[in-house]
């Protein structure tokens, strides 16, 4: 999720959220399958030749690195909605909105309209 979020950043999150926030927000959720707590960005679902239609309670979540960057870093294929599909709101845990530590990283987590 660089540069928005770096390994070791401490984040302030809003766990009272009950609906997927708007596109570009960063959310904490339980990954489908593994149940691991993960952090991704709410993104527009794919269009093009194979469009994905979301139900009202679903979101399309992706990491900030595109597939080429992830492959170049040898991370393997991205583990996000491109792998597990749309995510239901029952898996939403919180919305991340502030980095507060280390002090040089202090700031709001930037929105990104994609």
């Amino acid at each position: 999720m660089l540069p928005a979020i770096a390994p070791g950043d401490w984040l302030l999150t809003d766990p009272t959220i009950r609906r997927w926030p708007r596109t570009g927000s960063v959310v904490v959720f339980r990954e489908p399958g593994s149940g691991v707590l993960a952090l991704k960005r709410v993104s527009p679902p794919p269009g093009g030749a194979f469009p994905v239609e979301l139900r009202p309670d679903e979101a399309w979540l992706t990491g900030d690195a595109d597939e080429t960057t992830a492959a170049a870093a040898a991370f393997g294929p991205p583990l996000d909605s491109r792998a597990y599909g749309p995510v239901g709101v029952d898996r939403l845990v919180a919305r991340a909105w502030l980095r507060y530590w280390p002090p040089r990283r202090l700031g709001r987590i930037p929105h990104r309209a994609r």
Partner: protein, 143 residues
């Protein structure tokens, strides 16, 4: 200061990583499966028991599929754009080897299985030329 950071410290750790890469890659995995394919074709031809032959076919196809899987993992996860400088025909190499693995999956021709072994050896040479053995295997096994 310590007390302040202790107080500020988050109670939950969240993962933002794309995946968990173990970073271990070796064309030997594909080679072993391709050798299995080769031997199974040999055994198929040496037998006239239809049940044995049926099993051999099934196993051969399963192993050929695993060859493709291991080649794909090397191609997608180990090799990086900068390796094209050392191995300019990298994509062609994998394209041909995977095509050959598909061909062998549907064939009982020993020569085709042998060709596949040769192509995996070319992938192995590319892996070695890009420093694969030192970068992606753990040293220290007894020789």
């Amino acid at each position: 200061m310590y007390r302040l950071t202790r107080w500020l410290e988050p109670k939950t750790v969240v993962r933002a990583h794309c995946d968990l890469p173990c970073g271990i890659y070796d064309p030997e995995q594909a080679r072993i499966e391709a050798e299995s394919v080769y031997k199974t074709i040999e055994k198929y031809h040496a037998s006239d028991d239809p049940i044995f032959r049926g099993r051999a076919l099934h196993i051969k196809e399963e192993r050929a599929e695993l060859v493709k899987h291991h080649l794909d993992v090397l191609w997608h996860d180990y090799f990086k754009p900068e390796h094209l400088g050392t191995v300019p025909n990298l994509h062609e190499l994998f394209w041909n080897a995977n095509k050959q693995a598909s061909k062998v999956k549907g064939s009982l021709d020993l020569e085709e299985a042998k060709k596949l072994l040769g192509m995996i050896d070319e992938v192995d040479a590319a892996w070695k030329a890009t420093g694969g053995p030192a970068k992606t295997r753990i040293a220290g096994r007894p020789g």
